[in-house]
Symmetry: C2
Subunit: 404 residues, 2 copies
């Protein structure tokens, strides 16, 4: 994993932040999951069956028929105005607060650029989204983990001591990556109230909010306090991730700074993809399309929950998400899901260990299962194999535990 | 220009780098150039007449016919392999050194992320590309200006003292933005030789290299020392900028770090635009297409040079570029092109003052003219007006100079 071919020796003087970037051990293990015989519950990919291909093809034709030169020219940093207006209307905010980003990953980078100095405290859930931890890490913050339970972060834990000097609190209230948890309404209300009292800016990352299986949605933090929240949205899970389209809604002062940072980062998000997205959704496609994704993902989740119930040994627990793409699994204390992954991959099943999702002390007995791109048959087969692998790991650990 | 509507009061604690981001005064003045009655020589936009629209439309159709799901899915951070291979072949480098970026502006951001610590010396030409200065500035380097003349940077100026501790030297050897200068062959050779001796990494930014009017091209710095150069290329000037597609060719150790930084910045460049670009150019389109851009831009440049000769008052000088999109104009010493811009814009003609392109002491009597998107008739009209404006400014300055 540390072979010179993947980690060449560095000849040049590079930045401190770049020195700290380490290649993820998981990434190396998971490279093998590209082999077709591997049943992978590791990827965070939406199902390609959910991409509205025909509608997008028709949209492209309209863009070429209409004004292709302008779709292919440089454009404003803030994004394509009709798409910004679409977002503003959908979220009931002033269009001047909306900026289109090159995927919502870029919004994480821009927020970090604008908000984080080396050593700045940044509050994160326990666990939190790995891609956010990575984006923020480049700007060398001091992560502060917020105590969380099976319902998500615990607002009562937000004290003046814990939040002192925090540049922001980063949260995914809906079907969080990695846990699939949804923050209950009362906690949202309490979180917004405390954040306001403590003067803490909230960064609400919401790529999965539309993916409630039942269709029932909870109010966003943004809707509760627009002047105290930077909201990040994405078209990756409701249209297609290969377009790399996201958006950020921010109070005017921060919107202005985010735009300046974006201009230095990539001038603007591709005009071409923004126009296509707008043409695809402008006449109400999402209203028909999103329910089909909810139904598909709800069914896939049910397959996996059913298989887990039948195949997991005693001592293994998991949650039943109300939406999104992930289930969070806990093995008995003392087991290390990272070590067990090597055996699972040997038997052609993959998942993502939970440890890298923790900014502070990791719970090594956790792991994330993604289920939306795998067929029912392969879910059954893969979970059955995982059940065996976990059973063996538990059996092996037991004598050691007794010996210890 | 400093009204609260464009610069809201900042309520939150933000990063030091974001505090330093100032809104450009030029940007505010140039906003008026969007009015159709303004003849703008200010924009850096390629001519929409040069976009191969029909070929791109056909390419999109092939992408949808072939494998649209995969063009719409998440993909590798390094970029779409066939497009990387296309670039590798064109530049005669190992494909493992090639990464696709979201426009070459992103490459500037990634290079800054990987290479610059606060206070790191970074060598730049005098003047240099404004977008690069902005991208680098976010990472708080110490800019060191390299003495330059009308042929570009002077390699002999690179001494151990000047280059001490420099993280890299940033240069645009071909038809530089803003000056239109092309670095002669002997200077390239001397630059590469000195950089090697002094252990200075070269960052070669080359968006205009293909736009030599005569078609004669000089060897890249990359070709002279692939292990000591990060090369940045762009599809913006040979295909279309609205696709936001660029690429970076780097030694393996730096390529690896740039990929890690890119993953945190936007995961990857849109799969969709990469596929379309590849489908557009894979069968040799560039060989037919680039000569048409050269011819168009060469003609446009000739129109402007001709108009300058007829309309500029004595004391104003300019260069005759061999390629690219820009002419660099010098007014008599003591004049300030920024102040004069206000009068020019009042008469509906715009340009970009030279001062912001200087990392160190600006030469305020310089300015940049862009000519590729303006009709011959409007070039004539606009240059004629500029001639009057400059003549008046010179006349006004003369008595003051005598009085002083």
């Amino acid at each position: 994993m540390n072979s010179p071919t993947t980690r060449p020796i560095m000849k040049w003087a590079i930045s401190r932040r770049a020195q700290q970037l380490t290649s993820s051990a998981i990434r190396e293990i998971l490279k093998v999951t590209e082999r077709p015989e591997v049943i992978s519950f590791a990827g965070g990919l939406p199902s390609p069956a959910s991409f509205p291909v025909a509608a997008m093809e028709a949209a492209v034709a309209r863009v070429f028929a209409d004004n292709p030169q302008s779709a292919l020219q440089y454009a404003a940093t803030e994004g394509f105005m009709p798409l910004r207006e679409f977002v503003a209307k959908r979220y009931n905010v002033d269009v001047e607060r909306v900026m289109i980003t090159t995927g919502s990953q870029q919004a994480l980078d821009l927020i970090a650029k604008v908000m984080i100095d080396p050593g700045s405290p940044v509050l994160v859930e326990t666990p939190s989204y790995l891609g956010a931890l990575q984006a923020f890490s480049l700007f060398e913050p001091e992560f502060v983990s917020i105590p969380s339970d099976e319902k998500g972060l615990i607002p009562e834990a937000l004290t003046p001591e814990l939040t002192a000097g925090a540049r922001f609190l980063y949260a995914l209230p809906n079907f969080q990556n990695p846990t699939g948890r949804r923050l209950p309404l009362e906690r949202r209300q309490e979180l917004v109230k405390r954040a306001k009292e403590l003067g803490v800016l909230l960064v609400e990352d919401d790529p999965y909010g539309e993916l409630s299986y039942s269709g029932n949605q909870l109010p966003s933090l943004l809707s509760m306090n627009p002047d105290g929240v930077i909201y990040m949205g994405s078209f990756s899970k409701i249209l297609a991730p290969g377009m790399r389209l996201g958006f950020v809604i921010a109070p005017p002062d921060l919107h202005f700074k985010l735009c300046q940072a974006k201009q230095a980062s990539d001038l603007h998000t591709p005009t071409f993809t923004q126009r296509i997205a707008y043409e695809t959704i402008k006449d109400g496609l999402l209203e028909q399309h999103i329910p089909t994704i909810r139904e598909l993902y709800g069914k896939q989740c049910a397959f996996m929950l059913d298989a887990l119930k039948r195949h997991m040994p005693a001592g293994v627990t998991w949650n039943a998400p109300e939406g999104g793409m992930f289930i969070w699994v806990e093995l008995p204390e003392g087991l290390d899901s990272m070590k067990i992954l090597e055996e699972a991959v040997r038997r052609n099943v993959a998942y993502v260990p939970g440890a890298p999702f923790y900014a502070g002390s990791p719970r090594k007995n956790t792991l994330r299962l993604a289920f939306v791109t795998v067929s029912a048959e392969r879910i059954e087969q893969g979970v059955s194999i995982l059940g065996e692998v976990f059973r063996e790991a538990i059996a092996q650990a037991a004598p050691q535990a007794r010996a210890a």
